[in-house]
Symmetry: C2
Subunit: 201 residues, 2 copies
DNA sequence: CGCTAAAAGCAAATATTTTGCGTTAAGCCA
DNA sequence: TGGCTTAACGCAAAATATTTGCTTTTAGCG
């Protein structure tokens, strides 16, 4: 990737970047992504195609760049009173966003980028959101699952299903949450895992 | 996607398909994927570019098509005596394959395809392999985890990390297996989850 | 305020993708 | 088997997209 945010951030360069991003976002709403071309984006952004080629290389890189920006969370997770319900609310919104047609397209664009930094950023966004919820829970003195555990046992199954299989049903992701944050923490891992298994079908 | 396996499978059409696939595989070994073009593939395959455009649409579809084929498992999982060790062996191989540079590229190619059938196939391949291991274990009278549980709690975390984060370490994926198939099934889900959390760091 | 160099613009040269039309050869039915 | 139908291929021209060398603009800095 040629484009980095910290190279010549002021003035024209930044103006070009934002108008190109804006053009991509607009065009993506108006047309099929398979019909999107760099000359089209350039025209809409009021920029020469060669500028885009020089800065981003190809359409895939540009789309990846735009996608990461759009997947950036626009605020803190909702505070609903308890960590558990914060988590449930956040997961619900996460699934909705990621499983929608545009959401899936964004994720694909992020993953399609040859270098992995884009995907890494998305992962970080998610971890940060979960860390905020965890920190709030901790401040309230509530027990709360480790962020890495949540990534492995809640986020990963959801994303895997969205990407490779079918969109997970509410019953399913609720069950995923219940496993790592049971209301009565007495059941064994296997029993709970079995419960999730049945919810998955 | 225009190309489907069951349309005119015999004769010339099949010959073209296989020579194009072969050309892609060969060229991918010889050059960077970003330098690969359809005219190049066409020349190598001894075919007109327009044939490829008409059949596959664009390079991404073609690469996705080739990738699915290459991700197809070439046999049954190794029989190592017990279900648990079969699973451990299979997971180890799975991680190695998927986390290698070419493996990651194949998965990205599969996901980059606009329609989701390619990704679905890969998911099915994995489920089938696990089902074989599960069936063997069952035949031996061993307890064994449900395939859906394995997908959520072993495969998904592994794939998520490979795609979005870092390649999971052996300690980590061993811990994932231990959660769904503990040697002593007494520990609670939370305790085990905590153990995985620490292994992840 | 002037210098330096990174980034943008422009346009010509290349490379690719698309498309219309003729040709080949599977698949099918008598 | 032999002819018929049509999907798939080949070819080449036209339309687009990409690359590249050179010029111009302008951000960053002394």
């Amino acid at each position: 990737m040629i484009a980095k945010e910290n190279i010549r951030p002021g003035g024209r360069s930044a103006r070009v970047q934002s108008s190109v991003h804006k053009a991509v976002r607009e065009l993506l709403k108006e047309m099929d992504r398979s019909d999107l071309t760099i000359p089209l984006v350039a025209t809409r952004a009021g920029v020469t195609p060669s500028t885009i080629y020089r800065r981003w290389g190809d359409l895939q890189e540009l789309l990846g760049d735009v996608a990461v920006e759009r997947l950036q969370p626009d605020g803190e997770p909702l505070d609903t009173g308890t960590g558990r319900s914060d988590l449930r609310a956040w997961v619900e919104q996460f699934v909705d966003e990621m499983s929608s047609a545009p959401g899936r397209a964004l994720v694909r664009d992020v993953l399609a980028t040859p270098d992995a930094t884009n995907a890494g950023k998305c992962c970080s966004f998610t971890k940060q959101q979960l860390a905020i919820i965890a920190k709030r829970a901790e401040a309230r003195g509530e027990p709360f699952a480790d962020v890495d555990v949540l990534m492995d046992y809640v986020v990963a199954p959801i994303m895997y299903r969205i990407l490779f299989d079918d969109v997970p049903a509410p019953a399913h992701y609720h069950a995923l949450i219940d496993v790592v944050m049971p209301e009565q923490p007495q059941r064994t891992g296997l029993q709970v895992a079995a419960a999730v298994g049945s919810a998955a079908r």
